[in-house]
């Protein structure tokens, strides 16, 4: 076993060697511009791009013509929200989204709001982080043009009832955008069955290369139109100009093909490792709390709060395991995770949370190591924690007058 161990597969994933192999010919040998219509170099590149487009489309049950390549899911989210708003603003300027979306959606919505271009409703989530479809229905007005709700959350892994939301959107004639960055390739995604009109996803979360993503844009029932946010040569049916990064796109395609072929065996294998990690840690450590939905959750996700210990010190104690914390000090913002806060997790428990993200290349041996290390470090830090000591003495920490600073 090699240290450090990578258990942060929600942030990114290692590229699958089979993906790299597929990409390699497209750097030096087959370097053509897919938009060059007049020679073999261009045709070869175009053929590779169209092949990848089919591979992406197949994974999400779309038509290849409905795939728009972008630089990543952040760009896809921006294009979906801004592009739809600009195109349909005659019809209305109201957008509905949820409070636990990725910042690529939330900050885009806030920026549109700040510029006076849109009014936005941020729906709350339940204690497991799930959006209630009834809330979506109730928030729709005659000015609503877009609903944007994520498929699965990047911190807590909760999977939203997207198909139900899609049904409501269709019935009300409102477009439905779904940020599916964390879900595609991990759980079955079907844009038809889920009633999705626009969908963002990216390659590097599914063992593909960084720097390429896609926006699915529905062509039929309804035909979705967008105002491009990048002007130029009119690539991607005019929706996103810019020379296509052929090697990255080829890698994205291969990554999708592999996920489609292996999901049925891979998802249960990863979920079993995750469940083992969860059970072992939570059985050994009292007052550890699961964040996220107990069952409707991504197979590789585990987010736990350990009462009385602070997240950053936990990560520091486990420095040979790559993990992420929802705590203040690790981020530039010095605020605990807004996702955990939205679930109603208390600030002190939000400061005490750790996110494990398991993926394709994790092994049972690594999970054994992580279990041992987490238990050891949490136990040591609790010994060091005045809060733990007080709780053991029977003091109710909520009754203490803390001097907030």
């Amino acid at each position: 076993m090699k240290l450090p161990i990578f258990l942060d597969n929600h942030s990114t994933t290692p590229m699958d060697p089979r993906v790299l192999e597929a990409m390699l010919p497209y750097f030096v040998e087959k370097f053509g511009n897919a938009a060059s219509r007049n020679h073999a170099f261009g045709w070869e590149a175009e053929e590779a791009v169209e092949q990848a487009r089919k591979q992406l489309a197949k994974l999400i049950n779309a038509d290849a013509k409905e795939i728009v390549f972008t630089s990543g899911a952040t760009e896809s989210d921006n294009l979906a929200l801004k592009g739809v708003l600009e195109m349909y603003r005659e019809k209305g300027t109201h957008i509905i989204t949820s409070s636990t979306e990725h910042r690529a959606v939330l900050d885009t919505a806030k920026s549109l709001e700040a510029k006076g271009l849109a009014t936005v409703t941020y729906l709350p989530v339940d204690k497991h982080g799930m959006v209630n479809p009834d809330d979506v229905r109730n928030a729709i007005t005659d000015k609503t043009i877009l609903i944007s709700v994520m498929l699965a959350n990047n911190e807590i892994g909760t999977i939203n009832p997207v198909a139900e939301i899609g049904k409501i959107a269709k019935a009300k004639g409102v477009l439905f955008h779904c940020d599916a960055t964390q879900g595609v390739g991990k759980i079955p995604v079907d844009v038809q069955a889920m009633g999705i009109d626009l969908m963002s996803f990216s390659a590097h979360k599914i063992y593909g290369p960084k720097g390429v993503g896609a926006l699915y844009v529905r062509k039929k029932n309804p035909r979705v139109r967008l105002v491009p946010q990048m002007d130029g040569g009119g690539h991607e049916r005019g929706m996103r100009s810019g020379t296509l990064p052929v090697p990255l796109i080829v890698g994205f395609g291969k990554a999708c093909e592999l996920c489609g072929a292996e999901m049925a065996t891979e998802a249960p294998r990863i979920a079993a490792m995750r469940d083992r990690l969860q059970t072992a840690i939570m059985n050994a450590l009292e007052e550890s709390y699961l964040n996220g939905h107990p069952t409707e959750r991504l197979p590789g996700n585990l987010n736990i709060s350990f009462a009385y210990v602070e997240g950053e010190s936990l990560l520091m104690g486990m420095k040979d395991i790559a993990l992420s914390s929802g705590s203040a000090c690790t981020s530039a913002t010095l605020e605990p995770s807004y996702v955990l806060r939205a679930l109603g997790v208390g600030t002190e428990l939000a400061h005490s949370s750790i996110r494990f993200g398991l993926g394709r290349f994790n092994t049972d041996e690594e999970i054994d190591y992580a279990i041992k290390k987490v238990i050891e470090v949490v136990t040591r830090l609790r010994e060091m924690s005045p809060l733990y000591e007080m709780a053991k003495e029977g003091i109710d920490l909520k009754s203490v007058q803390w001097a907030a600073h």
Partner: protein, 134 residues
């Protein structure tokens, strides 16, 4: 964020971690911070003949907060009350090479020292009758 070697050392080998008994003679306790802010420090001193003979800490917080309080206990031992009052957060920042985002950890440690000294003086005062009545 990379931690300085000294922060890592205090984090891995905390000095004087623990607590004195509540009713032990000559003990002053300072507890500062708040759980919702992500750090709470408890710092205790044990005083004999106006000199701090022992110090202990417990900290809920990031590595820099733990290191700041661990260092504070090291520095407190052997000092007189007057000397202890001179410890400044900037000394801690310098010793541990704390980056700007972690300066609040050193401030908290200074606050904890001051709170422990005040608590000791209050207890000592009420015992000898020279302190102000509370």
């Amino acid at each position: 964020m990379a931690y300085s070697d000294k922060v890592v050392d205090h984090f891995n080998n905390p000095r004087n971690m623990g607590s004195f008994g509540k009713d032990e003679e000559g003990v002053g306790t300072g507890m500062v911070g708040a759980p919702e802010c992500g750090d709470v420090m408890k710092l205790q001193i044990k005083v004999q003949n106006d000199r701090i003979v022992d110090a202990k800490f417990k900290t809920f917080g990031c590595g820099s907060a733990i290191a700041s309080s661990s260092l504070a206990t090291e520095w407190l031992k052997g000092k007189t009350i007057e000397e202890a009052e001179q410890i400044k957060n900037t000394d801690i920042v310098q010793e541990l090479n704390l980056p700007p985002v972690k300066i609040h950890c050193s401030v908290l440690a200074e606050d904890a020292i001051k709170a422990a000294l005040a608590d000791y003086q209050k207890k000592a005062g009420s015992k000898t009758g020279t302190g102000s009545a509370q």
